[in-house]
Every structure is written in C-alpha cells, then in structure tokens.
Symmetry: C2
Subunit: 229 residues, 2 copies
C-alpha cells in the first residue's frame, strides 16, 4: 500500500488535501501530515494544523525551519519590521508589478524538499501539497505555479532514484472549487485558520481572508470561523 | 554585481567550487559560503568548511538541518546503527543494484532549496554546488545526476520568479579533473576533509577516500592530508 506525506499548514487548501489523501490512500494509517513552522507572526496556523491532523487521526510531524529566514524581512515573519499588507491579491499585484510582498523566498521549494526527505525515510511514495490556481495567478506566488510544480516534480522523482513523487491535487482549482471539494469530503473547515494576522478572530482584510470569504460565499455556505468585523 | 551562495561541505569538490566562485564573481565580497550540518557522524567536515571559508575570506553561514533525518538510519548519520561501508562505489553498487547506502534522502534537493531561500534573502542570483560525474555514475547518488540538476534548476528559476539560478560547474567533471582544476586555482586542499569517518586521520578505505586518493595519484600529486594506513 502506498503512503503519502501531506504538507499541512492548517489552512483550507492543505486541509482539503489531507481529507482527499485519507480517502485516496485508504485510511489515516497511510498518511503522515507534516507541518513546518517558519517563524510566522503567530502560532494560530500551527494550532489549527494540530487540530486538523487530530481530527483525521493521522501521524503529525512538526518541524521548525525558522532559521532559514534569518536574513529575510518578509511581513509574514514575526521578526519583520513590515506589516501584513491589506487588500486583495490583484490590487497588491498591481502595486508590486507581479509577485506579492507575502511571497516567502522559495518556501514551497524548501517545504517540498523537506517533505521529500521525510517521505523517503518513512517509505512514503507521495508528497502532497495544496498549491492552487489563485495563488499562481499573475505569478503572485511563483512557487505555486504549474511551471514550478512540473519542474520540481521531476527533480524529486529523479533525485530520489524514482522513489518519491509530488502530487498537487488542487493545482488547477480555484478557491471556490476547493471549498466545494472540501464540503463534499467533510473537511473540518471549522478547525482551520487562514488569516495572516494572529488576532483572536480572523481580520477579514488581508489577501487570504478576502479570498476565503469569497469562496464560501460563492458556494452559498457560511464560513464556520469568526471574523473581527 | 551578481552574488553567489556556494554550498560548502569542506570536501574537495565544494572547495574547488568556492575557489572558482571567488574568481568568477570577482572577489570574496560577492560570495557567501553555506554549510549545512545534517547530523553526520563527525564534525570534521564542518571544521574543514570553516577553515576553507576563512582561507578565502568569504561570509560563512552555518545552519543545522539534522532534524529532518529523525526517521532515517543512514550510515553517515551519528545516530545510525549502521557502519560506513568500505570499498569503492562500483563494488557497493554491484551489491546494492544502483543507489549506494550512503545516499542521504534527497539531501542535495533539500540543501539546494535551503540555499535558494538564503540566496533570495541576501540578493544573490546564483546557487553553486559541487555535484560531479563520478557521484552520478550508475545513479549511485541520484541527486547528483544531470537529470536531477536540470529539473531542479528549472524549479528554482520558476519558483523564485526568475531571481535565482543554480550552477553546478563540475557536473560533467570527474574527480581527476576536479583536482586538476583545484590545483590550477590554488584551492587549499590541505584544509579539506573527505572521509566519511571521523577518525584523526582519513581512513583511506571508504568510497570517498578511495576516490580522492586515486584523483591525486592521477594528477601525479601527493594528497596533502594524512591517511591512517
């Protein structure tokens, strides 16, 4: 029976990936959730990831990679002097001419490589992650693009002697479709956290809050988490 | 002026890469050496890396990634219950039918991704590493192959929004040519360490010792380090 390592941030995309993997790989015993902390402004995502992994009953590996961003000042990092930008991604992109400020240097490349090493050690043939079409649009997050995914998939396959492969089940999906899929799979959206800020309730104003709210609305369903406004 | 991050293990390949980069990028101020500790059996490589970086006067970043191999029992790891195999790689490969036991799961993929994140943060456009043709032969180390390098190069370029590229100047060279190049560049081979064992003198019996000794002999030069035998 093949096994999978699923990158789990605690947001809705990775939670849907985990729900999908538990189905696809025939039960939680064949799935390992991997959460990588990278020095975010808050630990809310980490708490959500723990709750989601617990909900599905999968093994949960948590590692700290914050050290890699010693030289970075990304607004998502706790040590950053910059505030998390407000407004939707499209507006942010018009201002930045492409990549958004919340792009964390090659984070997905690093996380997927880390997951590949863990997968190989644990005898898992698949590494699953929740990149999707919205994040890649206009190259907002270039490490979510199909071009990146295709190339890294090949690198993982070659670099492990054909033992491990990547799988991004949401790569062609938009947020609306991801929420729809999650609702069908019974994903525990009430346990997830998407907001870039670590406030008690989600801010509702950052790029990821705006995307999330719209996606639930488009499905005619109330988002089960609470917002500040 | 473009800058480069060079992966530096403290062995002869990465030392030649560093010597080459200091030339190619017009001085030590444009080069950052990056050494990643991954839980090896000994710290001899790390000490050599420090000495080599100091020799060239480049900034030296040292990080610890040992945690990623929590689930692994590779003979190169300090926590491993397995001994480092003796004999040349070709013999080991006949026994293992391809990949050698000292392949550390996707280590190069992880190290290069880590280096890419650091390069992006420091404004360096290049990540240099010392993969070479001997290590890739017969897929002994699949993460040294041209197929892996080509794919990961593409992933790095795409995943950083075309800001960072990989460069493997030795990818088509064999050990003999690498030693030759190092001699021409004045690489400080006397400061390097290649042996997989952490004994006072190099063992002379592991795959990497055998390769190294042959390469110096083929150049008609005495290896400046001492061997136990």
């Amino acid at each position: 029976m093949s096994k999978a390592v699923v990158l789990l941030s605690g947001g809705i995309d990775s939670t849907v990936c985990l729900a999908d993997a538990v189905n696809r790989f025939n039960g939680p015993e064949n799935v390992i959730a991997l959460t990588l902390f990278y020095g975010q402004k808050h630990a809310k995502e980490l708490e959500s990831a723990k709750a989601v992994a617990g909900y599905f009953g999968v093994q949960h590996v948590i590692k700290n990679l914050a050290d890699v961003f010693e030289f970075d000042n990304n607004p998502l990092l706790a040590k950053s002097t910059e505030a998390v930008p407000e407004g939707d991604y499209a507006t942010q992109q018009r201002e930045s001419n492409g990549m958004v400020k919340t792009y964390v240097p090659f984070r997905n490349g690093l996380f997927l490589s880390y997951a590949t090493a863990i997968a190989y050690s644990l005898g898992a043939s698949w590494v699953v992650y929740g990149a999707h079409a919205d994040d890649a649009a206009g190259n907002a997050y270039p490490d979510c693009s199909v071009a990146f995914y295709t190339a890294l998939s090949q690198a993982v396959y070659e670099g492990t002697g054909h033992k491990v492969q990547l799988f991004a089940p949401l790569i062609s999906s938009f947020k609306k479709g991801i929420v729809k899929k999650g609702l069908e799979l019974g994903a525990p959206f009430h346990l997830t956290w998407s907001c870039y800020n670590g406030t008690e309730k989600a801010c509702g104003k950052c790029g990821t809050c705006i995307d999330r709210k719209k996606a639930f609305e488009a499905n005619g369903v109330k988002d089960p988490i609470e917002y500040a406004e």
